[in-house]
Amino acid sequence: MARYGMVIDLKRCYGCYSCVMGCKQANHTPPGVFWSRVLRGEMGTYPNSVRQALPVLCNQCEEPDCMKVCPTGATYQTEDGIVRIDKNKCIGCKYCIMACPYGARYSVEEYKSYFPEGLPISDYEKFCMQAWEVKSGNGVSTKCDFCIDRRAGGKDPACVEVCPGKARVFGDLDDPESEISYLIKTKRGFVLRPEVGTEPKVYYLPPR
């Protein structure tokens, strides 16, 4: 059985936010919801300072805290290790949003239009609202699922495909021959917040 993971090479990321927009288009997320985000950091003081972008998304942890705190069992893991939410079981208590070490979960009461109030809602946005309602839903927790619909069609997740720096690699962590296993082993791959012990499956390669 596959165990999907991702590698993000920070040397190659220049903080263009393409992954953020690609994710929004692929998953029809409403305003304020960012399943894929970019954080920024700065080290040192001028003139000896460096800036670095850090793309973050759901880490599809092996031992997810969000699943542990869920009172209803709405959060579950699929066989290939993806953490998903059963929107029919979620009660919208938002405890998982508090518990996620990566801030990867979002919940909205309603899909507000991206455009100023008073303007008619375009056909595209109507379609997005419907798609959001069908896949994720309002009032419940939502999160990245490594683009499960795109993968069913044989494509990579949207953030991987749109990345112009080719910083992201998606693959199977269980396969020792896969590109991401090779990268993690040979390029000093590390995970974020290892101290919380959730065993994340999104790895990063150091910025230098």
Binding site: E42, K68, V69, C90, C100, P116, P206
Partner: protein
């Protein structure tokens, strides 16, 4: 990129509704605990105080749970909430408050139910029900602190001091609620005076725990921004005016004046308001600690207040 400002990520999901629940569960559980203790230690003289405390338990927690339901995204699913008591504090907490409400209802029954007088006469049965109810009242009061403490990324909450803080605040606000309505229901002046003195001591203990809690938060790198947000940031008015002034300092000095009359009523009202502010301060101060990797401390880019100009008002070119 020149003027990019980084900001910590504040939790915005749990605010006044949850604060109101935490406060009401504290008042209800605290008043019930105080009522049972008054019954166990005080004997027949303290029956009125005990009755008031026990009677406050159920309605306060029940109204509190309505706030919880109001906060849910899909309340129609709420019945699923106790599915996973093994790992989830919300599931455990639901079981705790349901048991508390059952015991509080039985205990309260001696006031309103037709066969209630039996319980009033039979002291040993009443004490048994009271102790069982008190166990769940205690759990009702502290489990919320454990619930928030389970959240690892919010370092302000990830401490064992939070249940202690909530416990002292709950007992103190519970006694204040008894004092508030006790004067009109025939509680003697000596008893009110004793309650006020006990409450004043509890306020000092609560202040001590609060200081340790915030000092600990400030000295911990992960929660320093939370502490700053509470002490001098946007939560500061609720903290300094609501928690410190209204909730702790003013009631302490007013309660030293005695347990009855206008000063005691004012002390109770201010103290209860302070209890609500304490819960809000703790919730609103919660910030997700920054992710540290490769020597960088990563944070979100602060977005402008009004990212989209109103129609027809384009920014000056």
């Amino acid at each position: 990129m020149g003027s990019v400002k980084l900001e910590g990520q504040v939790q915005i999901e749990w605010r006044w509704l949850i604060a109101a629940y935490l406060f009401l569960a504290g008042v209800g559980g605290g008043a019930y605990l105080a009522g049972v203790i008054a019954d166990l230690l005080g004997g027949p003289d303290w029956m009125t105080v005990s009755k008031i405390g026990v009677t406050l338990g159920l309605p306060c927690v029940l109204i509190g749970t309505l706030f919880l339901l109001a906060d849910l995204g899909t309340p129609t699913n709420a019945w699923r909430v106790w599915m996973k008591p093994k790992t989830s504090w919300i599931a455990r907490g639901t079981i705790i408050i349901v048991f508390f409400m059952i015991f509080a209802a039985i205990h309260m029954g001696w006031l309103v139910w037709p066969f209630g007088s039996q319980l009033a006469d039979d002291a040993s049965t009443r004490h048994l029900v009271g102790v069982l109810g008190a166990i769940f009242a205690f759990l009702t009061v502290i489990y919320t602190g454990l619930l928030l403490g389970y959240s690892q990324p919010i370092a302000l909450w990830h401490t064992a001091l939070l249940p202690v803080l909530f416990f002292f605040s709950a007992i103190s606000t519970g006694i204040m609620a008894i004092m508030l309505i006790g004067g009109g229901l025939g509680v003697s002046m000596e008893q009110l005076g004793l309650l006020a003195n006990v409450d004043a001591v509890l306020l000092v203990l609560e202040l001590f725990v609060l200081i340790v809690f915030l000092y600990n938060a400030y000295r911990t790198v992960e929660s320093r921004f939370s502490a700053k947000r509470i002490l001098s940031g946007s939560v500061a008015p609720a903290f300094w005016l609501g928690v410190i002034a209204c909730g702790l300092v003013l009631p302490f000095f007013l309660e030293l004046q005695g347990g009855h009359g206008f000063t005691a009523t004012l002390a109770a009202v201010l103290g209860l308001f302070g209890g609500l502010c304490l819960r809000f301060t703790v919730l609103a101060g919660g910030m997700i600690s920054p992710i540290v990797a490769s020597g960088f401390e990563f944070a979100r880019v602060a977005r402008p207040k009004d990212p989209m100009p109103a129609m027809g008002k384009l920014p000056p070119s």
